[in-house]
């Protein structure tokens, strides 16, 4: 009987190990880091108002350009860190058939606008408001910052999760201009709204 109990112990130990491996390999993944199903798919269309509400912008109007769609908010530290790189990239690539679109995420447009007054804007970037987060949901945003790259045909070909630096942004645009599909890159952490 003692021998039988020992085997039961071995069996339980092995079962625990197997369960641990399964949990560690599949179910322990951060769902925000999975590959975006949008890559290789047509970019979700949007028509959004500018932060000042004076105009609306549709993605279809930008067809033919490489479009960089970035979701940001004033309460997001990583967004503040990446902002100078986004501005510099937009200033550099803006005149060459690349349009940067920054979409305020889960905050009032006046809050996004006040933050941009503080940290600076690019003359080539479109700054938009996303009522009800419909566009963020359509792009499968888990947290911010997240940046999507859309090729001139309107297909999502790249995504950066976390703080994007000018080198990664530029290299992604370079690859798209060469006709490549850069895919997804995780460069840092993302944030959710503090009260989430």
């Amino acid at each position: 009987m003692k021998s039988g109990m020992r085997w039961v112990g071995y069996g339980l130990a092995l079962a625990a190990v197997v369960l641990s491996v399964i949990l560690a390999t599949r179910f322990g993944r951060d769902p925000g880091l999975v590959e975006s199903p949008l890559i290789g798919q047509p970019a979700p269309e949007f028509t959004l108002p500018s932060l000042d509400g004076e105009e609306t912008v549709s993605l279809t109007d930008l067809r033919g350009d490489v479009v960089v769609v970035n979701f940001f908010a004033s309460w997001c530290l990583e967004c503040r860190l990446e902002h100078p790189d986004l501005v510099a990239s937009s200033d550099t690539f803006g005149p060459t058939g690349v349009t940067f679109v920054q979409i305020g995420y889960q905050e009032r447009p006046q809050d996004s606008s006040a933050w941009l007054d503080d940290v600076g804007r690019s003359d080539h970037t479109l700054y938009l408001h996303d009522p009800g987060s419909r566009t963020a949901i359509a792009y499968g945003v888990f947290g911010i910052p997240e940046t999507f790259f859309i090729d001139p045909d309107g297909t999502v070909v790249g995504k950066i999760i976390g703080e994007a630096d000018a080198l990664t942004i530029g290299a992604t645009i370079d690859a798209i201009k060469r006709g490549e599909r850069p895919g997804q890159s995780v460069t840092g952490n993302t944030q959710q709204r503090p009260d989430s």
Partner: protein, 332 residues
């Protein structure tokens, strides 16, 4: 009709009525029912394993609003689920799909049940020896546990293989990490953006110099000039970077504008920083040659050729240039 029969009929009618009402409710849910059911089946993307209907986060609330709007517009449950999974992937479903790699999750309980029944049946068909009640159970237990271990191991292997195949599928879609490994593949515009975003970075002079050299080699002197100039002026540039930038400025001043004296002045500044610099002295000799000052060029190159630290490669380059000067060849 007896009272007992009447009671049975009434009871049967009540049960039937309840069943009909229940069926009608189940098959004709209200819009609110559908919204609630869908909300309970979608995981909140900013929470940990919580349905959006139960999450207090703003994102979950906005997703519930979206579902409500879609239901009101007449979308089917499947259309709404397809819309959300197209954005977030199947992982947003609290109940994984009964197909593909996640099929194993649905089959696992049935497999475990069948395996358990099998073990019990085997156990009962191999009864212990009643004459020896103490010895047999250990043997049977060992066999049963061995069977369970084998079943568990097989399940683990199955999950591992499924996981592997799923990863391969994702890779086959072309989704791969973007890595900037080779700066040669990075465009001038990208380097411009990196520099513009990092003007105060102490190591930015190296990137400016690399970009300016690229522009110079491409013959775009107008774009090279501000970067060479910035490297010369920057307090964070080291001596080697300043000398290289002055040499670059000297060459584009001569080759671009034909201003030999200004170019030679810039090279003098470079030699004040790094006296004896071989590239600078060679460039001085070359600009003198190209500007028709062959005698001075000959002296500079001859002196440089006597330099004991000259490498074999530089010795060859200087000798070739000196031979061209001595032959009074036109500067190429």
């Amino acid at each position: 009709m007896s009272e007992r029969t009447r009671n049975l009929i009434y009871g049967g009618l009540i049960v039937a009525l309840i069943a009909v009402v229940g069926f009608l409710i189940a098959t004709n849910p209200t819009e609110a029912d559908r919204v609630s059911r869908l909300g309970a089946s979608i995981m909140c993307p900013v929470c940990q394993g919580e349905a959006i209907i139960h999450s207090p986060s703003e994102m979950a609330r906005e997703m519930m609003d979206l579902i409500e709007e879609r239901v009101g517009q007449g979308a089917t449950d499947q259309q709404i689920i397809d819309e959300l999974t197209a954005s977030y992937g199947q992982g947003i479903l609290l109940d994984p799909p009964v197909s593909g790699p996640t099929l194993i999750l649905w089959l696992a309980p049935a497999i475990a049940l069948v395996a358990g029944i099998g073990v019990i049946v085997w156990w009962r068909r191999h009864p212990s020896d009643p004459a020896d009640p103490t010895a047999a159970p250990a043997g049977r237990t060992r066999t049963a546990v061995t069977a369970l271990i084998l079943i568990g191991s097989a399940a683990a292997v199955l999950v591992a293989v499924t996981s592997f195949l799923q990863d391969r599928d994702e890779t086959a879609l072309g989704v791969a990490d973007l890595q900037v490994e080779d700066l040669d593949e990075v465009s001038n515009q990208t380097l411009e953006a990196v520099i513009a975003a990092n003007l105060d970075h102490p190591q930015i002079s190296g990137m400016r110099l690399a970009l300016a050299d690229r522009y110079r080699e491409e013959g775009d002197y107008r774009s090279a000039f501000p970067h060479y100039f910035a490297v010369v002026e920057s307090e964070t540039s080291d001596a080697g970077q300043r000398v290289a930038a002055l040499a670059g400025l000297a060459w584009i001043t001569w080759d671009g504008n034909g201003e030999a004296d200004t170019a030679l002045g810039l090279l003098d500044r470079a030699l004040e920083i790094q006296p004896g610099s071989v590239p600078v002295r060679f460039l001085e000799g070359r600009i003198l040659h190209c500007s028709g000052q062959s005698d001075r060029s000959e002296r500079v190159l001859s002196d440089l050729l006597q330099e004991p630290s000259l490498t074999v490669e530089w010795k060859q380059i200087v000798s070739d240039e000196l031979a061209a000067v001595e032959a009074r060849e036109v500067c190429a």
